[in-house]
Amino acid sequence: MTEALFILVVVIVTALAFDFTNGFHDTGNAMATSIATGALKPKAAVALSAILNLVGAFLSIEVALTVSNKVVSIQDSSGVPIEALMGTPILTIVFAGLVGGILWNLTTWLLGLPSSSSHALFGGLIGSAIASLGLSGVKWDGVITSILIPAFFAPLVAGLVAGIGTWTVYRLVAKIPESRRDAGFRWGQIGSASLVSLAHGTNDAQKTMGVITLALIAYGSWTDTHAIPFWVKAACAFAIAAGTYIGGWRVIRTLGKGLVEIHSPQGMAAETASAAIILSSSHLGMALSTTHVATGSILGSGVGKRGAEVRWGVAGRMVVAWVTTLPAAAIVGALCWYLASVIGGAVGIGVVFAILVAAAAWMFSRSRRTAINPNNVNAEWEGGLAVTEQQDAAQETAKVPAGAERN
């Protein structure tokens, strides 16, 4: 195996690993509310979401080769790598960026905080681009228009729409007995959450497909900028679906139980708002992050229901994570690029990859200390993500029916 081929293989594996973290990090965006209200059993919810992500990824007909073009100058307008970076240089930049994105995704997952996977990826790429090309390697106006401004408005817009939706829904169904009301809205929740899952599969898997195709072009084994190899599509689809099925239970718990005590009508209002905003925004010139929209919608559904408790402290921690995402992933991306370049060649890439595997294993072992799983994901929120042993035992014996509180 030549050195360049080794690097290509490592980049592809890393890209698929990123796709996998993208899947489990974002399961909660679609399914947290359905799990919290009991509309779907936890395992059924992640299975449904995984299938829809898989289908969504296969349905994507867009070639997202130029997605990185918005923020870094490593390709020309058609998506082909700049001549000077052809081969190993661009593969190293992309690789370091992916590592930055994965490590930040794992960190926020460990903390149980939803954060945008796209921002993590862009952050990593920005860091490695600065490290290799200097500040001019980054398109700063693109960073402002396609990352910072959308990140600021996404939760506000979603919160507004979901808040108004929730308020209206509760006005309309006030006289319906709770049992019949919740039974109906659970169906609405499942439908709207499914739509969010499908859109997620199409949107997010596309980004990884674009990255892998870019790597193949850089290596020289693919030249078409208007199509992607079928195996790339299939591999990305299965990676994101597998990630979704694993279920980021920590993030699901924070979104479903941590922010707001959520009931079926709120859940439906929140997910419908998310679906409408995600779908419309990407076609109206301001693509908004699924994570930011979903979180804003859930918060809005808490604000829109009279008497509902909204834990602003938890929301505050999320905002901190969002603001940190880009610079944190960028720093990791830059460090990885330096390390890979200083050592050089396949060995450099291999060393960074080994560090990635070690860091991921360490974070996984840390997560076992406060393990969140399908059995305890819905335990009462008592000041934090961690579920106490007593709660764990209680969850095992008696499942508290969701939505028992009266409006």
């Binding site: 969504g56 007909i61 108004i164 829904v169 007995p177 019949r180 009301r181 809205f185 739509l195 779908l279």
Partner: protein, 91 residues
Amino acid sequence: MDIVMKTVNALWQVIAVGLLLGAGLPALFSLGMRSLERGRVPAPAGVTTASADGTVASTSGKIGAGICFAVTILAVLFGIVVIIFGKQLFH
């Protein structure tokens, strides 16, 4: 200034569509639920599908609900079309 104008322009459209579909569809769904509720009648003898309070939805209630739910489902199907063919449709 260009950035501001573009942002404002995209933003109001997203909010408008968001309110129309994102808040409107749950409201429509609620109207359907209300329609099922309105004029609930005591279940005839032998009907086993009645609710706990022994009532079933009236025919007119079911028709109204059916219309509301059908429009909701159509909107969801439209959403799927947008997911798949959005770029061709809107760009």
